[in-house]
């Protein structure tokens, strides 16, 4: 039963006003995305003359083609596609490995507790909340020592390390409410540590796996700080490339290309959000309100 539901009155005027306010906010929230989209389909002259909100007079895919394949970022003029694939190369292993580690940690911290498990969890959890500025300097040196500075491999390591906190949190909270009796029953049945995990817990973990993957995917894909601090040139992720493209001070600003590039950077996470918004929200919620 929703709180407002019982409060709501059958006041027609009030209802109309209510919908009007909600609609205005919806338009405000959609506006930037709309402007981005229409701009990306306009030729540059039209942008310079016309109304930002107007639909294109002549639709053109040229800005998208240019953004993808030939826009100049720094000295390289081959668009953002290489950086897009960099991001994919970073995201996939980082998400999978940090997710797996988090699942194991959550399992141990709830079903195989040992003395001091709370402190261990607290220490891991706190790592979610540190301002990453505190690790930029030493991380840059360590990546250099490991010869993975300025590489997607280096960023994979960084994202795994600082992703563990959240993935552990997600799985721990999920397994916390997973009945202990099932684990006890499996122990009596003769199942060991890994058998219990892979046969009993993991098959029941689909929702939290989805939440974790979406959360990690969004975070790693959208990361800028690590990308800009630890990579440059060819190995940068898409966010860094987008920023370099948009905020480079040379030449005429091709707003339509910028917006197309921004859309390229935004599309993967937007798709995930539209397809699995429920899980996306669950991740956000459990990232803020501990269970």
């Amino acid at each position: 039963m929703s709180a407002g539901a019982t409060v709501a009155r059958r006041n027609t005027l009030g209802r109309a006003l209510l919908y009007a306010v909600l609609a205005v906010f919806a338009i405000l929230y959609l506006m930037p995305l709309y402007v981005m989209l229409v701009t990306s389909f306009k030729p540059l002259e039209e942008i310079h003359q016309g109304n930002m909100l107007a639909l294109p007079d002549t639709w053109t895919f040229a800005p998208w083609r240019e953004a993808w394949g030939s826009a100049c970022i720094g000295l390289e003029c081959s668009g953002v596609h290489g950086y897009f694939f960099n991001s994919i190369k970073i995201v996939v292993p980082a998400v999978l490995i940090s997710g797996l580690l988090g699942a194991f940690n959550g399992y141990v911290l709830t079903k195989w507790r040992f003395r001091g498990h709370k402190i261990v969890f607290g220490l891991i959890l706190f790592s979610c909340f540190i301002p990453f500025q505190i690790i930029l300097l030493p991380m840059a040196r360590v990546l250099g020592i490991l010869h993975i500075a300025n590489s997607t491999t280096g960023l994979v390591l960084v994202h795994i390390v600082y992703g563990i906190g959240f993935t552990t949190l997600f799985f721990r909270n999920f397994y916390e409410s997973f009945p202990d009796e099932l684990v006890r029953a499996a122990k009596l049945d003769g199942a060991g540590f890994f058998t219990i995990f892979f046969r009993i817990l993991l098959p029941a973990s689909v929702p939290i796996i989805v939440v974790t993957i979406i959360w990690q995917f969004t975070n790693v894909w959208n990361d800028f700080l690590f990308g800009v601090s630890f990579t440059s040139g060819d190995s940068a992720p898409i966010t860094v490339a987008l920023n370099n493209l948009v905020n480079s001070s040379t030449g005429v600003k091709a707003y339509n290309v910028n917006m197309a590039a921004a859309m390229v950077a935004a599309v993967p996470t937007l798709i995930v959000y539209i397809l699995a918004g429920k899980y996306f929200l669950r991740g956000l919620m459990s990232g803020s309100v501990k269970g």
Partner: protein, 300 residues
């Protein structure tokens, strides 16, 4: 859960006993080294002579006093204070308002929720790019208003040193409000409906039911929202880089951009480290009590 009985004999059973800790240890070692080791290292550097390269000679509080006498750091602190306050207050107020409006048996609630929340899925760089264009003084909103007939409309905050920080607030609020709304909505849905029915029978008008009964019960949500927003604000870096690059001049510098530029462009490692330690201290003061109380509650 219990610990299993001490196991006599059987290497396999002894292994089973140690396995959980063994499985946890790689993560724990990574976190210890890359989080706590690095925190210690950075803290030490903030008390050293380090410039372009680490220099481990002890310099006392030299870097700290250089930090505090820095003009830009003063601006950064001022900005984060203004930005943080406006961001938290606006997001919370707007988020609560939207949540209450959405909680009135709205027909298209699902669609509206999706619309309000989608910016949270975007990268700050995308958000920054979009809003930079939207608020572009020459071609953006200003031009649009002119072409709609409002000739005197002027909006050049983006390049106005005094106002630029507010454009960042607008974009940041746009991005996070939906999330705060979702938090409040979840809180509203958790309130006992019978209590509200009782209040209605007692004759309380709707606004009073919200003011006196519902909103006071959302206190934990307020706390969570404020902590989350404060935490996001202090870490804000991407959005400022994408929208204003910290400019015009240093007008929109915040501690995060300050730290970055001293670390990687100005080669002042010591000052950068000191500013990072300061940020950590502020966040720790905010987060640790919060985490402590949250974990405590969940235990009972």
């Amino acid at each position: 859960m219990s610990t299993p009985p001490s196991l006599r004999g059987g290497a396999r059973e002894r292994l089973q006993h140690w396995l959980p800790r063994l499985v946890l240890s790689p993560s724990f070692v990574l976190v210890l080294f890359f989080v706590y080791g690095f925190i210690l290292w950075t803290t030490y550097i903030s008390f050293s002579n380090s410039g372009m390269l680490p220099d481990y000679t002890w310099a006392g509080t030299r870097q700290w006093s250089r930090l505090w006498s820095s003009w830009t750091w003063g601006i950064a602190l001022h900005n984060i204070w203004v930005f943080g306050l406006l961001y938290i207050v606006t997001c919370t107020a707007l988020g609560l308002l939207l949540a209450i409006l959405l909680d009135q048996r709205i027909r298209a609630e699902g669609a509206l929720r999706t619309i309000y929340l989608y910016p949270m899925a975007l990268s700050f760089i995308v958000t920054g790019t979009a809003w930079q264009w939207f608020l572009n003084p020459g071609l953006g909103l200003e031009r649009t208003m002119h072409s709609l007939g409002w000739e005197s409309f002027s909006f050049n905050w983006l390049i106005d040193a005094n106002m630029a920080i507010y454009t960042v607030v607008i974009a940041a609020v746009w991005q996070a409000t939906g999330f705060i709304m979702a938090m409040f909505l979840a809180g509203l849905r958790g309130i006992d409906g019978e209590m509200i029915k009782a209040a209605q029978i007692d004759g309380a008008p709707t606004w009073k039911i919200y003011g006196r009964i519902i909103i006071p019960q959302l206190r934990p949500v307020f706390l969570s929202a404020i902590v989350v927003l404060a935490h996001l604000a202090i870490k804000s870096f991407d959005l400022i880089v994408a929208m204003t690059g910290g400019g015009p001049g240093n007008a929109t510098a915040v501690p995060a951009t300050f730290m970055y530029s001293y670390a990687f462009s100005r080669n002042e490692m010591g000052i950068a480290a000191a500013s990072a330690v300061f940020m950590l201290a502020v966040i720790a003061a905010l987060i640790i009590p919060y985490l402590y109380s949250e974990l405590r509650e969940s235990r009972s």
